[in-house]
Symmetry: C2
Subunit: 239 residues, 2 copies
């Protein structure tokens, strides 16, 4: 069998459901040694499960005292999601209106962002993204053509990340994002159905796959009245 599940993953899931079901914020979890005995695994395996839960903010550990349940979080753990999944999580029905899908060449900033040569072939996909049939976001995505031959023949009204994963075996795992407040120009205001000079949230992203390749450059401009962005920042443990 090709998909054997690791013990620490199993333990993590069991712990998470038990914790959320039976314990309240700031309540004490069993000790690591006790959990190891209960689950019949070594303490290091327990620690690996706890580490993930700590990184995700569900629990916290205090040296010399024990491990505790965190206060409920403002936001879910931040994750790189497609527009469609993001909208569904917010309770909207996602949609898409394709404005352009073409093969072009990389300008200077795109070439630099994607780590390709100036003038090399890049796909250019421009869409207006809808939530409950009303404009939410204007999006321009560019991808190196070399990595995804035949991309324009796919159904671009559906999720791009799904296509990359199923058709090209490319799994996007990280996005480095720059977020700005901007004032909408005439064209984008019209596309989004708001008045010109309205405020909007611009998210510029460069995405990396699980092999470290730069696979996507995207700029998404969201209507300020319909969208906010949540994130969690942490401080290094011992710098």
């Amino acid at each position: 069998m090709t998909n054997m599940e690791a013990k620490h993953v199993l333990v993590r899931r069991k712990l998470q459901t038990e914790v959320t079901a039976h314990l309240r914020p700031n309540e004490l979890l069993p000790t690591e040694r006790e959990l190891a005995a209960r689950f019949g695994v070594s303490r290091m395996t327990i620690r690996q499960a706890l580490r993930t839960l700590i990184d995700e903010g569900h629990i916290y550990a205090v040296r010399g005292q024990g491990t505790f349940v965190s206060e409920p979080r403002v936001s879910k753990t931040q994750a790189l999601t497609s527009f469609s999944d993001d909208m569904r999580a917010r309770g909207y029905r996602p949609g898409s209106r394709l404005l352009e899908a073409s093969l072009g060449t990389a300008d200077a900033s795109t070439a630099k962002a994607l780590g390709v040569d100036l003038g090399s072939a890049v796909y250019r996909i421009e869409r207006v993204r809808l939530a409950d049939d009303a404009p939410m976001c204007h999006e321009l995505v560019q991808l190196p053509a070399r990595l995804f031959p035949g991309l324009l023949d796919q159904d671009l009204e559906s999720s791009l990340y799904q296509i990359l994963e199923n058709r090209y075996r490319t799994r996007v795992v990280r996005g480095d994002q720059t977020i700005r407040a901007i004032s909408l120009d005439r064209r984008r205001a019209d596309l989004l159905g708001v008045t010109p000079r309205s405020s909007a949230l611009s998210v510029q992203r460069i995405s990396t796959d699980d092999r470290g390749r730069l696979v996507e450059r995207a700029e998404s401009v969201y209507r300020a009245d319909r969208y906010d962005f949540t994130t969690t920042v942490t401080r290094p443990r011992k710098p």
Copy 2:
């Protein structure tokens, strides 16, 4: 001695400087077993050092192949930093103009955000933050008074996080943030030295310390023309 440095921290730092000095993106690192031999530690210790570097995006590992240097990042690893540190990292000289520092009571939304009773005592600190002596951000911070007796007697023109750490032994380790684009009202526009209705980036944060206590609620409104926000989102490895 009270501050013994862990081996994996030492190894991580050595690795990071070696990697950035001698290796280029997508170049192969030595194997874990080789590194263990070179540094005279066990493989698990090497893995702990590599894990941190992977989480921070400096390197990536591919099963069956090896560990590689990542493409240079758009942004530094996201960290919860004070305004002062943030500005210095961006090449500005930070400053602060105190508008108000008072003891008030928690309104409904503040009480809910900080997990305290409605009407309980909270400090309220309002400042205009400067970068190279020009306004960068308008900030309102509220903290539960119970946790920080005598806070208003401290020097509030300096870093709040420094005060919390040195005076109150409270280490802020996490911030849950909501980021919006807004249009500036008259008062804030005046304070920031821009025209009314300008776009701005609003960052609302709820901060948690290393004991899981909610210690701070802050709203920071940044001038759109001087500030952007960088963040990294990741996708779970095997969902």
